[in-house]
Amino acid sequence: IAGITQAPTSQILAAGRRMTLRCTQDMRHNAMYWYRQDLGLGLRLIHYSNTAGTTGKGEVPDGYSVSRANTDDFPLTLASAVPSQTSVYFCASRKGLNTEAFFGQGTRLTVV
């Protein structure tokens, strides 16, 4: 593993199903983020975690939950998927305050 790894790369999901998107980083970064990217809307923050054991809500948290049990992993869960959650999801991490973010390759999720 080098950097940030997201899984799966893509997924088609039936509406109402539960889904967890995985994100793992090996850089020992403190902060981690989940964004969704939609055409014309740029990146919107879903949830974040400044350090292991803490999480916070971003701009569009409804319908999503996260956990941060350790430094490396930051899974994003959709409890009951809806078509409006069709998007490309990016996980990112950052070493410390006021530093740049590093991104995973993204997960393309289609909810039908």
Binding site: Y33, R44, Y48, N50, G56, N98, A101, Q105
Partner: protein, 115 residues
Amino acid sequence: AQSVTQPDIHITVSEGASLELRCNYSYGATPYLFWYVQSPGQGLQLLLKYFSGDTLVQGIKGFEAEFKRSQSSFNLRKPSVHWSDAAEYFCAVGRTIDSNYQLIWGAGTKLIIKP
């Protein structure tokens, strides 16, 4: 509210021509500024960043950007574009409020290269 504006949704440039992508932000203090590039189907890669000091910053792949406080701008430039520069470019502003550091993103500018 703080915001980042990239006024051009897409820009078409001939290969070998110069490029300038615009980014304006609204933020009271001097922000931390970033430009990222996203190739199709890929994640975002940092091109360059400005934290303080020299207002003209050099990045990877021959890109540079200039911070202009008076205009609240951080425009990205390249003297001569290559076909491989076709991608989407995102400007972002970093800010800390109540110990929470956030990146505020522009909507992106898609760069199209004409042969």
